[in-house]
């Protein structure tokens, strides 16, 4: 198992390298610069000398290949560079955003799983029923709403009209604050999970071994518990993993809307002021999260499914 994890970790390196390269190239041709963003408000004209000094300080006067080399060399030493904007190490900028982001991703996924999986399960137990049809129409609808629109509606309804929940913000120890953004972010994975679960349960329910289990005289609860659940889990694990893995990147819009101090909003802010080292850093974090989650999913597969060998 450890060897598997080690190997998978090594396999991440080329992917990460490619990501770094792509982002580096894209943002080396992007119009606008951090220096120009200093003046974006149109209020404080910045001294030309200051700008030149800044350029030199960030090494922006060096040719592109040199900058790339410097960056990669730094990465090799786990150094993400210095943020243009805050002039502190990129990691110091990213680190405080990490936990809120993970929390939001997990909360959204928790919501998606707790609602989506049972919905899909129940729908599949009576395929074609009213419940099934309405659940599935609801699921497809959930996949069809623009996220920020949904977030805004939730905000107006639950925070303002009903006054049940705070509308924005982050509180380290507050569950209330995470509810609305988690729901807004979780609706689409919830819908996906409901559909995948339903399809998975139908698949398993129609499997021969379930007929065998019935022929053995199992009660329905025992049948579901000891034969269906695990097999369905195997089928939805991929969806589950892919969703958790990509949630950190998908959260951009919701994080911005709800003033959530996560990686996504940091990314958007950094793009808009052209704080390229932070952009690089956040993308690396987002991609790493995806890769690590996927590795964990594979490990989980190996743990659940004896047919899969990790080595």
């Amino acid at each position: 198992m450890l060897r598997f994890i080690f190997r998978r970790t090594l396999q991440m390196i080329p992917t990460l390298l490619a990501v770094v390269l792509i982002i580096f190239v894209i943002f080396s041709v992007v119009p606008g610069s951090f220096i120009s963003s200093l003046m974006a408000e149109g209020r404080n004209a910045t001294n030309a000398d200051v700008m030149a000094h800044l350029n030199a300080q960030f090494g922006l006067d060096k040719p592109l290949p040199v900058r790339l080399w410097d960056y990669l060399w730094g990465l090799l030493h786990f150094d993400l560079g210095i943020s243009y904007r805050t002039r502190s190490p990129v990691w110091d900028v990213i680190e405080p955003r990490l936990w809120p982001s993970i929390k939001l991703a997990l909360a959204a996924m928790g919501f998606a799983a707790v609602v989506g999986i049972p919905l899909g399960f129940i729908a599949a137990l009576k395929p074609g029923s009213l419940f099934d049809t309405s659940t599935m129409v609801l699921a497809i609808s959930g996949l069809s709403v623009p996220e920020f629109w949904l977030g805004l509606l939730l905000m107006y309804f639950f925070a303002l009209q009903l006054g049940w929940l705070p509308s924005f913000g982050y509180q380290a120890d507050s569950i209330q604050h995470i509810i609305l953004p988690a729901i807004a972010l979780g609706v689409s994975p919830m819908a996906l999970l409901a559909r995948t679960t339903r399809a998975g349960v139908l698949d398993v329910m129609n499997a021969d071994f379930v007929r065998t289990a019935r022929a053995k005289g199992l009660t329905e609860p025992r049948l579901v518990r000891s034969h269906i659940t695990r097999n369905v889990l195997v089928l939805i694990l991929t969806t589950l993993g892919l969703q958790i893995g990509s949630l950190m990147g998908q959260a951009i819009v919701i994080e911005k809307l709800f003033s959530w101090p996560g990686i996504g909003s940091l990314l958007v802010d950094s793009v808009s002021v052209r704080d390229i080292p932070v952009v690089q850093g956040t993308v690396i974090v987002i991609v790493l999260w995806f890769l690590i989650i996927n590795m964990l999913v594979d490990v989980a597969y190996a743990a659940i499914d004896p047919r899969i060998k990790v080595n």
Partner: protein, 305 residues
């Protein structure tokens, strides 16, 4: 006649199965199986023999449903039982072995657990006791080194081994009736005989009646004492095995026998299903609403040997 015969274990009376209420696909099927008897149901694929077996077990899946008739098991009409009582019978008093050993076992559970489950459900044993019984059950179906095998997963076993495991599960609680639905069809020829012998031997030893569903006349001839021939949802003929082979009464049966491959091309017979009977028997001959042609049970058990 029934007064000189023992009470049947299973008595199917005018069983009708439909796709919903309208489309009847099984028409008034009736037959009896005596204790310890091996009864064969033969016919083309789609003739309704498998769903007959499933309906006895109560495993018909929507939209299939029983629309009429009765199924007496040990004198009791199981169709009138509640689902709870019916479930209690399943696995305990009547058991089933399916065609596809590759998929009939839960891929994520050890076979030991899957066998042990029978003792837990029906005998109320703890898991550790049940597991010990599972080793015995595996041993009885002649799976080598059963202590190790109980820890194996289905994918680690060959098809023949898996079917032996299925037999072990089915016979774990010593049922009164075993329904074997094409138990060897998916197996290699070389292991077919072994599995069939195993079923015959264990059932004879315990006095278990067997309903053997097969399209393979060879298997039927070797295993069964009495045979029912099904065609398009009807039981067209029922005779003792020897009588059937010697003197088929129904044109369809004659066609079936005629379509049987000649000696020496047995491998082909296994592959090619009996699907082109229309060329041998005309639709007219096969008839529509005729009653089952039947001869009374003969005595003596030589046919089952």
């Amino acid at each position: 006649m029934s007064d000189i015969l023992p009470d049947p274990v299973l008595s199917v009376r005018d069983l009708r199965i439909g796709l919903g209420k309208q489309n009847e696909i099984l028409h008034d099927v009736s037959f009896d199986i005596l204790p310890g008897e091996t009864y064969g149901l033969v016919g083309e694929s789609g003739s309704g023999k498998s769903i007959t077996g499933l309906s006895v077990m109560g495993l018909l899946k929507r939209p299939l449903e029983v629309t009429g008739g009765s199924v007496f098991f040990r004198g009791q009409d199981v169709l009138k039982l509640g689902s709870r009582a019916r479930r209690r019978l399943r696995g305990d008093r009547m058991a089933m072995v399916f065609q596809e050993p590759m998929t009939a076992l839960n891929p994520l559970a050890t076979i030991g657990r899957q066998i042990a489950e029978m003792f837990v459900i029906h005998r109320g044993m703890g898991w550790s006791d049940a597991r010990r019984k599972a080793v015995e059950a595996l041993e009885s179906v002649r799976v080598p080194s059963p202590e190790e095998r109980v820890r194996s997963y289905p994918h680690q076993l060959s098809g023949g081994m898996r079917q032996r495991v299925m037999v072990a599960i089915a016979l774990a609680c010593r049922p009164d009736l075993l329904i074997a639905d094409e138990p060897t069809t998916a197996l290699d020829v070389t292991v077919q005989a072994g599995v069939l012998e195993l079923i015959a031997e264990l059932c004879t030893a315990e006095g278990t009646a067997v309903l053997l569903v097969s399209h393979d006349l060879g298997v039927i001839a070797n295993m069964c004492r009495r045979v029912g021939v099904m065609d398009r949802g009807r039981l067209v003929e029922e005779q003792d095995t020897r009588a059937l082979f010697e003197n088929p009464l129904h044109p369809y049966t004659r066609g079936l026998l005629a379509a049987r491959p000649r000696l020496g091309s047995r491998t082909l017979a296994r592959r090619g299903r009996l699907t082109e009977l229309d060329q041998v028997v005309t639709a007219e001959e096969r008839g529509r609403d005729a009653p089952t042609l039947t001869t009374p049970r003969g005595f003596g058990l030589e046919a089952s040997a």
